[in-house]
């Protein structure tokens, strides 16, 4: 189990990666840590909700097709409690209609799998920048 992120004073931007595929988990963790972010992992929807509520990540990178509740249901539950929590849907469901569907469901951004590593980093970096601006105010 990942350790709770030190979000408060340290200012480390923490990303929760919710994905049932361990290869995807490892890839995201490796790339984001290398970019300087803290990474939390959840292997299904329920776990993602649980981690979000208990460890308050800075943002969530959410897969959709997961056992139990899927990523969209998890997002709905998290947004109900934490409406400002940035959630990026990262899904292999990558038809045009899927993107609309995810945004309509409340996603802050959508990342189609497979993705270029730079895209993943820039999406997270942008949210981190937004966060910094907000904190600065």
């Amino acid at each position: 189990m990942p350790e709770p992120a030190n979000q408060g004073g340290s200012g480390v931007f923490t990303v929760l990666v919710a994905d049932d595929n361990d290869v995807a988990q490892r890839l995201c963790k490796r790339v984001l840590e290398k970019a300087g972010y803290a990474v939390l992992i959840a292997a299904d929807g329920l776990e993602a909700v649980d981690v979000a509520f208990t460890q308050h990540p800075s943002m969530i990178l959410m897969d959709v097709a997961m056992p139990g509740i899927d990523g969209l249901e998890a997002m709905r539950r998290i947004k109900a409690e934490m409406p400002t929590m940035p959630i990026v849907i990262a899904s292999a469901h990558s038809m045009a209609s899927d993107r609309e569907r995810f945004l309509a469901a409340g996603a802050d951004n959508v990342l189609s799998k497979p993705f270029r590593l730079a895209d993943l980093v820039s999406i997270v970096a942008k949210l981190a920048q937004d966060q910094k601006v907000k904190d600065g105010q």
Partner: protein, 802 residues
Amino acid sequence: MPGARPRTAPKPSWTLGLVRRLTPLAAVAAVFAIQAAAGAGPVLVFPLYLTVILLTALQLSRMESLATAVLSAIAILIPSLVGGGQPGDMAPGLLLAVVLMVSAVAITEVVRQVRETEAEARRKADDVVASEERMRSMLEAAMVGLALADADGRWTEVNDRLGMILGRSRDELMQLSLTDVTAEGDRSVLDGALALLRSGDIVRWEAELNQLRGDGTRVPVAIAIGTAAGHVSGGPLLLVQETDISARKRLDGMRDCLVSLRHVIVSGYAWEQAVPQLLGSLCAYLDWDVAQFWAADTERKALHVRHYWHREAAGYEAFRDQSRAKTIAMGVGLLGRVWQSGVVASLEDLSAANDYERADVAQAAGLKAVAVFPLVEGGVVVGVIELLGSHVRGVLDDEVTMLSTAGVEIGQFIRRSDVAQALRRSEADHRAIFERSPIGIVRISSDGELVEANPALLSMLEHDFETMRQNAWPDLLRAYDQAASRQRFAPLLAGITAGHSVQVRAATGGGKWLWLQLTATSIPDSSGRPEHLLVMVEDVTTVRETSDQLAEALESQRDANANLEKLDRTKTEFLSIVSHEFRTALTGIQGFSELIRDGGLEPDEVRAYGGYIFNDADRINRLIGDMLDLDRMESGRMSMRSGDVDINEVLSEAMARAGTASTVEFKSDFDPRLPIVVGDRDRLIQVVSNLVNNAIKYSPDGGTVTLSTRAEGGYALISVTDTGLGIPADEIGHVFERFRRVRSGAAQSIPGTGLGLTIVKQIVEMHGGKIWVESAVGHGSAFHFTVPLAAEDATPLQRRHA
């Protein structure tokens, strides 16, 4: 006595009469003077006196003759009286005087006789002349034609009237005989009569003949011929009496014509048959030669010739043909005017006509006069009849009246015939429908008795009429009423008016069951009460069966459509799932290969990432292989290499492949007497391997996997049972569907393409077997499948799962 009768001779003047009367006195005085002078004796002068007396008697009257005789007697006596006075001398004189007197008396008597005879003869002759004159004036004054003819019929005397009747002058007639002026057709009759009259066998003959007028026309006459008193050479004199009966004949003709027309009309002929007779009667009785019926076509406002009739003579064809080719508009020409006005019209002489278009061709056919009368029904002119005659003739008022009457009667007849014909046609139609309809038709009385059944019904129900009437029909009637009451219709005999249809079951004579549709219609009598009923009987067995089949087919079509829709959805879903699977696998491949490419990694990192990349690539490869397999199987393009397969050996092989590295314990429970099956050994190994691998995968904590075989009902029954995670109840129905992987709970991280069980099911079914699963979460799963045994006595396996 003399002078009593008037003399026919002219009276002489009184002077001349006096002279004549005094002449005998003078003659007597002269003789007396001679007697006295010569003193001749009485005997001598006696002849002289006698001569005077004779002459006087011849010339003068009897009184004068007697007076002369007395004077002569006195004169002969005078000498005797004067001369002697002797009685003896007086005797001869006296005697002579007496003789003289007697002679005078005798002579005058003879003369008187002669004269009387002569007067009588003269009187008789006068009578004859007077009689002749009376007779002649009578002849001339007579209204009848009178004539005398000799025994051969040659005229000897004719009156003017006869000349008028025959249209010839008296002189002309005198050149001809009775036979000459008689129409050819009547001559033989006449000649026969003349022969009888000549022979004296009959004295009087009467007849009606046609005679020929001077202008060649005929005149009908009543003739009476009697033998008259007196003979001429060769036979008796004939008194001929003739009356012109043309007026009477014309009236008779018109009367007879109407009678004849009515006879035809009431004889019950159809119009088509009656028309020639009507036209013929008009010609025959009214003395026309051609008759044509023109029908009025009110829609097209035109008259057309429908029927044509002419006397037996040639030369009318051109006229007929032109008439037939002609269309006459209302109000145009003679016929058009009659059609429009409804009034009889005629043209006395076609050569003077200017509104008769066919005048030329009519005249060429020898037709000279025309009369047209309308056929009227209910105030409407339904046609006209055109009559044409071969001589110039007018149409008199009474004939106009007669034709008008005939027109109304014929018009009504046309209407009646039309109606009757329509009725007959309708009757014939109905009869044909009844006899030849493929639908069964029965006519039943108002009390339900079968009156008539058509051939179609009898053959449909395979009954003869009697059976039909006595048995089958009452059954049908009951069945109708039952069906009707179910559908809330009135029973058959309760005043059906419109056709209600009911369907009933009925058995044929041959024992076949049919569905019959009965449709009843009541036929009312004139008072509106149902007089009888018609029931249409249709065999709807096929329709019923077909409609059942159709409903079934529709149902299955609906299912098929639903399946198609589902298939379409499934296909889209499948594509979505497949792309998702690929992209998931590619995420790792792409991401880690990008990391390696960018460099800066530790060697063991590179090794680990290469391992991830290899695994995902392999997964994609398997996915593609499974999908192609499945596609080939589902499209029937998968070829099976069939051969004898020992199932027990297949299971052993699969068990061996699953391997040694497994964390589970294998058990086997093979039926050693299991017969050989026919199938594709490699595929069957694929099935068992898949099931065994699944059993291992879903037994993450180890456990036992049991493989068993058994022969059951002609099938080899193979079971792979594990003690693993089990399948949740809501997923167990879907495990054989594509990309359905049990991923709940502990099973979520178990890898797989999601196509394995779908492929397994396909292979089993391709072998003619079935596959099913029993499972309980936490207790494990048991997959069973069957493969038919090679033995011929194989019977279907009873499915045994719940």
